[in-house]
Symmetry: C2
Subunit: 137 residues, 2 copies
DNA sequence: CTTCTTGCAAATCATTTGCAGGGCG
DNA sequence: CGCCCTGCAAATGATTTGCAAGAAG
């Protein structure tokens, strides 16, 4: 599906800011971007896109289910919602983000919730520490 | 250990704001409080304690290891660090917080980190959903 | 054309900091 | 009595919103 079609499906008009942001997520290796990071990247491209617009677009994308918002540090980071559910490990030294999925943990969360008569809508699991390269530092 | 002694041990002078806040945590059934909540409670008591002071005290307490800071919603909530490690379930409807500890999950996190050559310093696991009383709502 | 969008600036929110007066040890 | 603390107001950083001008369908 083209990016333009994705937008249409979400009930959003095809506009430059939206395409640019989608494009960034599609092409970016890191996958995890904050509004500020997106803003700076687009500034370098002289796209003339304001920070407020980026926040608006990201919120719309989140509502439409196109991206997920995470609250690792103090500001939000977003990632494309194009893969299966996974959790994260964040390197407190270099900021690297490693994704992982573990069936035992997922299952155990469900068991625990059940034991407390709690219905899970969502969950967030984040491990903070040092990645391979930063352990010596 | 008295609250005054706890403060001394942390290298902090015994002052009214600090005692009041410690007292609140000790007496409060909910255990989890935000700076704003503490501020409002103390306002009602006419303690004349400013919000900035509450933030300062909470930060000092966190540094001293007396309290833990969590980032469930958009603002931080604090809890006394007087119990063993545990994770949380937060009811998105009524805000109720349920604490839990699961050995399998803890162990599995360690395994996963190891598999990725990652050294865990800390982790946060939070289940969002509806508690028993809010399921029908 | 009509409605959805955007850029910019001003407004919010949560939290932090500067400063001058006070209080603990 | 010196240094740590506090209240208040102003400063911050992240994110949101008001508004009038511009595009998309």
């Amino acid at each position: 599906m083209s990016q333009s079609e994705e937008l249409k499906l979400a009930g959003l008009k095809t506009t430059l800011p939206r395409l640019k942001i989608l494009e960034l997520f599609d092409s970016n290796k890191s996958r995890h971007l904050s509004a500020e990071e997106i803003y700076k990247i687009l500034l370098d491209e002289d796209a003339g896109i304001g920070l407020a617009t980026i926040y608006r677009v990201l919120t719309q994308f989140e509502t439409a289910g196109l991206v997920l918002r995470h609250n690792f540090g103090e500001s939000s980071v977003f990632e494309l919602a194009d893969t299966d559910h996974h959790d994260h490990m964040v390197c407190v030294n270099c900021g690297k983000i490693i994704e992982f999925y573990d069936d035992k943990i997922e299952q155990q969360q469900i068991n625990i919730a059940k034991a407390h008569d709690f219905t899970i809508h969502d969950h967030s699991l984040c491990l903070y520490g040092k990645c391979k390269n930063c352990q010596t530092a």
